[in-house]
């Protein structure tokens, strides 16, 4: 297939999807509060953009997501590195780690909101929690997969512990670390929304709930689209990071 054509395939697919949606709305004649048409959603978005509310809520949710990602990733990387280095620490912590995964995040979210209030803290915590595990697992896998012969190399030239971390372990496990970040980035969006749905006065989750209560289904659609955009944006940033730092892998077809 010609590359010029394949580049447009994604866009064509999206346009066809919107067209199909529009056709369904017209043919089924469903009321607007059940299924709004693409035009309704578009108008609703322009309206909420104009009064500034959409950007406010989106920005708030984005901050929650980013802070959650930051704490989750930092914490998970540090703990993951320690686990990769110490089998006994792994044995001590693994029951808690497995348990933390067995409990669905939606089940703990109300608890966290109860304890930390309906402000930003509880949402950041939920995001961090949901991001924590995949990043942790990838860190452990990545650090353990560093070839032992490269440790020999570093030790034969008297590298310090710190140099081994920076010049060997970090770059060697980076592909797997970024893989974890990629999963974490999308999960973080879910975390923020779960938290906001429990209780919030601001954010896209709050917007979703308000839209739902008021039968403003177009508003719900707008909020969902914003969430998808946020997730795609974060995913795109991780992909860019991979392209930048993993040039040596010759695996650009992400």
């Amino acid at each position: 297939m010609k590359p010029s054509l394949s580049r447009w395939l994604g866009l064509i697919s999206i346009l066809l999807g919107i067209l199909a949606w529009d056709v369904i709305v017209r043919v089924s004649d469903l009321p607007k509060f059940i299924l709004p048409s693409p035009a309704d959603v578009w108008m609703r978005m322009l309206k909420s953009l104009a009064d500034g509310s959409l950007l406010l809520h989106t920005g708030y949710t984005l901050i929650e997501i980013l802070l959650g990602l930051l704490f989750g990733v930092c914490f998970a990387t540090i703990i993951g590195y320690m686990l990769a280095k110490s089998r006994s620490l792994e044995k001590i912590l693994s029951p808690y780690l497995v348990a933390s995964q067995a409990i669905p995040i939606v089940a703990v979210a109300p608890l966290l909101v109860l304890w930390f209030g309906s402000g930003i803290t509880s949402k950041v915590l939920i995001c961090a929690l949901i991001v924590f595990f995949p990043v942790l697992v990838n860190t452990v896998v990545g650090v353990r997969a560093v070839p032992p012969v490269l440790y020999d190399l570093m030790n034969s030239v008297r590298a310090t512990r710190w140099q081994i971390l920076l010049k060997l372990e970090l770059p060697a496990s980076l592909p797997v670390l970024l893989g974890g970040l990629r999963i974490g980035a999308t999960l973080s969006v879910i975390g923020a929304i779960v938290g906001e749905l429990v209780d919030a006065q601001i954010g896209l989750g709050f917007l979703l709930k308000v839209g739902d209560f008021q039968y403003d289904t177009s508003m719900v659609f707008v909020a969902v689209f914003m969430l998808v955009s946020l997730a795609l944006m974060l995913y795109g940033i991780v992909t860019l990071l991979e392209k930048r730092f993993l040039k040596w892998q010759n695996r650009l077809d992400v």
């Binding site: 490269l150 020999d152 190399l153 034969s156 030239v157 770059p171 060697a172 980076l174 040596w248 010759n250």
Partner: protein
Amino acid sequence: MSLRGTRRATKQSQNFWEIASGKVRPRNDMVKTMTTNPILTVKDLNVVFPDSNGGLHALEDISFEVCPRDFICFLGPSGSGKTTLLRILAGLLKPTNGEVNFIGNQHPGVGMVFQQPNLMPWRSVMDNIKLPLELEGISETDARIKAQEMIELVGLRGFEDSWPRELSGGMAQRVGIARALIHDPDLLLLDEPFGSLDAITRERMWMELSRIWQAKQKTVIMVTHSINESLFLADRVLVLTQRPGKIKFDLKVDLPRPRNDDIRYTPHFGKLARKLRETIE
């Protein structure tokens, strides 16, 4: 790669080394080995790896001395503890008992070439070679100049920015050799460095290594299971037995230097090869 290119590279780096060290020494190796004091003395070295039935005896009562600028080869079948011995000399492993003494009682700078090139796949050829200098905290500019010089020495000009995955086995091992030499180590340790190469590339690498050794005048300890390789390269061949590894035979290789391909077809080379063959079971 053109022959002329490599020859020019040798000459340049040789001059550099001589000027840098401030001493231009005569190239008569036999005299030097006899008149200088050993820089490394190994005495009654024993290595036992703990396992379920009483421990695996890898090396037994190994004693030998190494003089500056010696090229010593340990020859032995697989499982004779050759790699274990090199790991001890590199400071990667502690012996169960016995002594390893370096001159002045401090561990020397070591450059090691492994069985596999062991390059870091995320670093270019240039960045792989200058790694030891980076770890020593040498400035980026100086490290690059030195690395460029090593790249010329091992004949890899034009591949500075290549990724390791783009290199052939022989080229990758040249990078390994350049990296082992760049920080000017007191001791160069070679662990069957050409074992994974095809026969033709391997013989070409012998010539290269011989040339580099002539240029750099390093003390080299190499382990191998190839009789030809040990005779072609070394001043002295120590034969190790099957596990537990013991030194069974010590052969002085009195072939003239510099050595080229023809030397392998001389009667004397054949005689030495037969002697070694007979001591290895």
